[in-house]
Amino acid sequence: MTSGNPVEARQDQQFSDHESMLRFEHVTVRFDEEMALNDVSFDVRRGETRIILGAAGSGKSVLLKAAIGLVPVASGKVFLFDQPATNLPEAEMFAIRSKVGMAFQESALFDSMTIAQNVAYPLLNQPSIRRKPDEARARVKEALEFVELGDTLQKFPSELSGGMRRRAAIARAVVAKPPLLLYDSPTAGLDPITAHTIIELIIKERDLDSTTALVVTHRYQDGSLVANFRYNSHSGLLDPFREATSTRFMVMREGKLIFEGDQDELEASRDPYIDKFVKHAD
């Protein structure tokens, strides 16, 4: 995914290392009477990977959707790239969302389009990053080769396995080289080998393109893998490595953010709910 071509350079060249990529300030999201997010605050800096753990219904996916304005925020403020992004009109959000890639839980590939058309979609439909068809085609091929699906260009999503669809969704999320990536339960419902492949891709993307990412998951081992391994571009494999501050964990429970810290702090936690996630991963 890296490229020396200045035209193909990442969209995040303008961001400094300490710049906030996503900030929540006391964000609350309600669906009717139900509180999906309750007074959630955090700040993700450039280059960080956030692992968001939590049981089903704890508000993890809602948090990602609130970040890019897919669900309305009842109170509090959301900042994307240090710019206010709370309940903006949809037309204004389109420009901001073009800098964010999101891989949805069930892939959310468009059934009526081929994999190539799905992956090309952001490059042909987002006004701020629109590319000419030839240029888009080359980027699509590159993105699909990155996820090792280079031979599926003309296939439809229904012709792919669940794991392949997730990889195609990741290709669609990274095709425009956004500076911020949101992965919503990328390993949910997958067998352990396929889940490992998906996490490998997330690590590869992070290490080759220095992407900031939020990864929602209910599997602690996914986060542990991200925190303790890096991609070796020479061997194409993962090497054990631990960089103290780049991977941080968050734990959600019933819409509340109950933990934020690094892996050591997470493992040292005495909270029985957190303990359940960490212990059950073994």
Binding site: K65, I68, L70, E90, A91, M93, F94, R97, S98, V100, M102, F104, Q105, E106, A108, L109, F110, D111, Y121, P122, N125, Q126, P127, S128, R172
Partner: protein, 254 residues
């Protein structure tokens, strides 16, 4: 006290907002003409056989009943006249719209509903596309263009169905049948016969889209949305038929 009214009032408000957005998008870029053509093919061309058969048999049945009734007054020759007026003014638009509602309001609701529950609508928004612009407006344009055309085809084939019955059962002469059929119609009948399907097209497409886009609750929710779309659009077709007919009746000279 009036809590039970909140749901319906909110639904009407959301429906009007969808209608307003879909109409506004007619004058805003981008326009998805490829999608309009695909929908015209699906909704229009795909429904031709269904609406043609409906038209043929409704015309035939009407001729059968009317020919029998008019024979008592020695007026069998007027069968074509009655068939054409009822078909063009009432049955053609209503039955064609009901068939298209059954086939396409359900199709639209289930397609959009499936997209909603599989997060494809969210993905569309995340990827910089307004789902109303991309999904609702093309379906609205396509239905508004195709339903009046389907109605005209159904009317003509219905008249032919009436002719077959008149010719073979009541021994009407072709010239007699077609001349009374033609002469019976005035411009206001044609206007009424075209205005109705044009209005019904908005009802069918927007009701289908509305229920599709508000689907929740997985595959069960998709089934529910599909049923609601067909029931609501069919009901609205009958209600609107009454009011449009009433308007044209009040406008016609005594």
């Amino acid at each position: 006290m009036f809590d039970f009214l909140k749901g319906p009032v909110l639904a009407i408000q959301e429906f009007y907002l969808l209608f307003g957005s879909a109409l506004r998008n007619l004058f805003r870029k981008p326009h998805y003409w490829d999608d309009v053509l695909i929908q015209m093919d699906t909704i229009g061309v795909g429904s031709v056989w269904l609406t043609s058969l409906t038209g043929f048999f409704s015309g035939a049945v009407m001729a059968l009943q009317m020919g029998h009734a008019l024979a008592q007054y020695g007026q069998t020759g007027r069968t074509g006249q009655v068939v054409s007026i009822i078909l063009v003014r009432e049955l053609g638009p209503a039955l064609t719209a009901l068939m298209v509602a059954g086939r396409n309001a359900s199709g639209i609701a289930s397609e959009l509903g499936s997209m909603k529950v599989t997060e494809q609508i969210d993905a569309m928004r995340a990827l910089g596309t307004d789902p109303i612009q991309k999904l609702v407006t093309p379906r609205m344009i396509a239905t508004a263009a195709m339903l009046p055309a389907l109605t005209v085809i159904a009317d003509l084939i219905g008249m032919f169905g009436g002719f077959i019955v008149g010719y073979y059962i009541y021994a009407l002469q072709p010239r007699e049948y077609w001349s009374t059929t033609w002469k019976a119609l005035v411009w206001s009948d044609v206007a009424e016969g075209l205005l109705k399907p044009f209005i019904f097209a908005f009802v069918i497409s927007l009701v289908g889209c509305y229920y599709g886009l508000r689907t929740s609750g997985g595959t069960q929710g998709v089934g529910r949305a599909t049923t609601q779309a067909v029931v609501t659009s069919s009901l609205l077709i009958f209600v609107l038929t009454f009011f449009i007919t009433k308007f044209f009746v009040s406008q016609s000279p005594q």
